[in-house]
Amino acid sequence: MLRALFALAFCALAAGPAAADSWTDTLTEARGQTIYWNAWGGDEQINAYIAWVGQQVQARFGIQLNHVKLTDTAEAVARVVAEKAAGRTEGGSIDLIWLNGENFAALKSQNLLYGPFVRRLPNFGYVDVTGKPTTVVDFTIPTDGLEAPWGMAQFVFLYDTASVAEPPRSIQALLEWAKAHPGRFTYPAPPDFIGSTFLKHVLLELAADPKVLQEPADKADFAAVTAPLWHWLEAIRPNLWRKGAIFPASGPALHQLLDDGEVDFSMAFNPAEASNLIQAGHLPASVRTFILKAGTIGNTHFVAIPFNAAHKPAAMVVADFLMSPEAQAHKQDPRVWGDGTVLDLKALDPADRARFEALPQGVATLPPDQLVPVRPEPHPSWMPEIEAEWLRRFSS
């Protein structure tokens, strides 16, 4: 036992300087590289943050960062798969992807990711892997060092206190509310991730046994498990905005409907989003957030490097910078993005911790103790089938 501990300590000692050396090499290799980061580009605040990252890595590491704005992360997955199919095993067109869940599962299962590389990133040491287990388990799938955690997300609902006094706090209550107020509620069309996550909440709350959702879908009776979901969706459909004939394209599109007064609710995968949008003048000051009594889904989003990325060193340097206390604190600033940090604040030195503690709490942001319980994501295999079934029912 003692010997084992000793050996471990020795390894750690030996690995320490070696790792540092190789990281220095990585930094050297990365300098001067131009990388293409494929990241969903549907939110101006996030785009602005990515642009800030670009300026920082240019100034600090001499890396030219280009943001390839996606409307759906699946596009990037498709591109990597297509390059593999075309035999392009090096010099790929994507260096870094912002992803999680199904897209990660798809790439990992087909061995299309570079790595494991995450443990080589110095800042990964600050990540709170025990307090925030989703930083290493993505939608029930172990990350195995193939994707670096970037931010913490939790699903919240937005409502306008000027028109809704007491928001419904369960899926069933939401249906009753919609029936009483036809045309005032809708959700983004899946496979948009806000829309898909909304469907997950309906399913988690209505499923007879939510535990089966943690297992791959092919182990369960898909039709039986998801029946309550379809029943609920059909019941609410005639009471939806535009009678369920049209759905907004994305979360931001739903925010716009809320701001225009077309609907009374919106949804976000970021507890601070409402505050940010109020601050930026995109939502009325009367908007607040709430979560369901049974809790809402929380997850982590990551960055990963495709197996054939042309500029892996620079991609790793950027992934590391994204986890740095400075970049994480800047990201968590509600005036910037308001995305939760993946770091363990207790592990930071006082100066870095102070950055986080100085951040303002937005007017519409719930304090952490009201953001519980946090529910886990279902196994990623459920969503493609649910999305396909939704398309069959709602677009034909």
């Binding site: 049209i246 759905f247 716009q256 077309e262």
Partner: protein, 576 residues
């Protein structure tokens, strides 16, 4: 003297060696990818795409396609918006000419329509959505009277039948058809025929419909088919104004191409083929309808009905034009207002404040795409102009009759739907390792820029009096000098207009940028489209406004430079 004559003979008789290579080169560079693109779409549609494990021909993709959710409704929206917009744009065009031919007002309409034509479809679409959406400007103006405190729950845009899309297409295609009709009037000797019909007792509208329309229609048939093909396969406008669950066929196919499940590519390829077939069938059907109408109209044509003064058609034409200009200008005004707006909630008619602040705030993110758009547009327009000028000069030196050359094939990209062959082009570019490169981007833009530049330049180039060049040659000047110092200078204005046309076409390209750019090139079009659903309306307004402004700027320069250059040459300022 003898030398001069020899040069004259050389100029007109023999072709210049390098010029002679240009037409085949142009055809190869541009028709090659299209042919390969079509093949690269048709083969996967029948299951053949070895890179994805499709090694044998099968009908499986078609079965997949047939059972794809929403296909029926997608086709319905496609057909309704495509045919409705083409029919109404053509009807409004005919009405305007029938009611207004020969009046000074029609000349003003022409001048006012030219800038409308230059505005990219996407900018019009975004502006129109700002205008007519339930939370849009028109609803805000009506809100006090209608008593709306929240926007009415009516699907005005993105309606499932595609009516909003049809309206957007009408706004863009009517100016195109009107300007094409103006060009055709001369060849049809419309003025002479119309005058004669009037003296035979025919009212202005009936005279135009019975005599000028059949003659002019023969001239604008190809543009009408192009409008039909475009309307049935439009992507950018459809994403903004068309239905979403499901979208019309072309955006639906694009969605399949982008699916992370790669087996969807087979279904997507089959969908792209369906789009090709649909357009071909639609044009065939239109052709048949032309004949049927022509046959049915004979008794009416020769029945002697003279018609009245045309007062009612005149009123209808003016209402139609007022709507067209009102909505088009209102769209641009809406873009401009949103781009400057502070807080602006329903049902406020005006933003709480208007300032340059939103522009300054987003300037950093606007400049990159604007620069990419500018560079891609300028290079592709210049390359296209060089190739087209070379081909036309070759044609004029060989004295080949215009229109018979294989160059007419260049019009193919205007009729074939982009989604039908761009996937194949992408495969070609990936194979050549050109995807995501500037070369690939500009090449793919050229496929569409080149035909328009050719269309814009061919007539003025061919109608330049050859005696200018001959007399210069007879003075002993070498051919290249005659070409650059005489012909090209005399043609400065049409050359610059063709350049501006090419630039405008490049600026508006969405699918080619997407497919060939590998997502790496963010242009104003791709950015505006990416943000059109739910993005900050200020940024969308700014992007769309710049999108509209760049081509207008191009045309402005194209008209201003010759005006300045020839400010002391009266003959060079006349019309043209």
């Amino acid at each position: 003297m003898a030398a001069a004559l020899q040069q004259l003979a050389a100029y007109t008789g023999r072709r210049s060696a390098w010029l002679g290579w240009l037409p085949p080169l142009t055809l190869l560079v541009f028709l090659g990818p299209i042919a390969a693109g079509l093949l690269g779409t048709v083969l996967p549609a029948f299951g053949y795409l070895p890179a994805l494990g499709g090694e044998r021909l099968s009908l499986e993709p078609w079965h997949q396609l047939a059972s794809a959710p929403g296909l029926g409704r997608a086709l319905r929206a496609t057909l309704i918006s495509g045919f409705l917009s083409t029919v109404l744009a053509l009807a409004l065009t005919v009405l305007v000419f029938a009611a207004g031919h020969g009046t000074l007002a029609l000349g003003r309409v022409k001048r006012a329509m030219t800038p409308l034509l230059a505005v990219p479809h996407l900018a019009t679409a975004v502006g129109l959505a700002f205008l007519i959406a339930p939370s849009g400007w028109l609803a805000r103006l009506a809100a006090p009277w209608a008593g709306w405190r929240t926007p009415p729950d009516v699907a005005v845009v993105q309606d499932s039948l595609g009516l909003a899309l049809a309206l957007g297409l009408i706004l863009k295609e009517t100016p195109f058809l009107v300007l094409m009709t103006f060009g055709a009037l001369g060849q049809a000797r419309a003025d002479d025929h119309l005058r004669l019909a009037r003296t035979l007792g025919y009212g202005p509208v009936q005279a135009w419909l019975k005599i000028v329309l059949p003659l002019v229609y023969a001239q604008i048939r190809l543009p009408v088919y192009a409008v039909l093909a475009y309307s049935l396969s439009v992507v950018d406008m459809a994403i903004v104004l068309g239905p979403t669950t499901p979208p019309p066929l072309a955006p639906l196919v694009l969605r399949w191409f982008n699916d992370s499940d790669l087996s969807m590519r087979f279904q997507a390829a089959a969908g792209a083929c369906l789009q090709l077939v649909l357009v071909a069938l639609a044009i065939g059907l239109w052709r048949i309808a032309e004949s049927v109408f022509g046959w049915l109209a004979r008794p009416w044509l020769c029945g002697g009905g003279r018609g009245g003064s045309g007062f009612l058609p005149g009123v209808a034409a003016w209402i139609g034009l007022a709507l067209l200009f009102g909505l088009s200008l209102g769209s641009l005004l809406g873009l401009a207002t949103w781009s400057l707006a502070g807080r602006w909630r329903f049902p406020e008619r005006w933003p709480e404040q208007l300032s340059a602040e939103p522009w300054l705030e987003h300037a950093g993110r606007l400049l990159g795409p604007a620069w990419t758009t500018l560079v891609a547009g300028a290079i592709s327009a210049l390359v296209a102009l060089a190739l087209v000028t070379g081909c036309l000069e070759n044609e004029s030196r060989r004295q080949r009759p215009p229109g018979l050359g294989a160059l007419t094939l260049l019009y193919l990209p205007l009729l074939a739907p982009q989604i039908g062959f761009l996937f194949g082009v992408q495969v070609l570019l990936v194979w050549a390792r050109l995807d995501g490169s500037w070369l690939g981007l500009i090449w793919s833009h050229l496929l569409f820029v080149l035909p328009y530049v050719f269309l814009a330049l061919a007539d003025p180039y061919r109608s330049l009096d050859p005696r200018y060049a001959r007399s210069a040659l007879a003075l002993g000047k070498p051919p290249w000098l005659v070409w650059t110092r005489i012909k090209l200078v005399m043609l400065l204005r049409p050359l610059l207009v063709a350049l501006a046309v090419g630039f405008a076409v490049s600026v508006a390209q969405y699918l080619p940028t997407l497919f060939a750019g590998g997502g790496r090139f963010a242009t104003l079009t791709t950015e505006a489209l990416g943000l059109s659903a739910g993005g900050d309306r200020r940024v969308v307004g700014q992007l769309a406004l710049m999108l509209a402004a760049l081509p207008l700027l191009g045309f402005g320069i194209a008209l201003a430079v010759p005006a300045w250059r020839f400010r002391r040459r009266r003959a060079m300022r006349a019309g043209g």
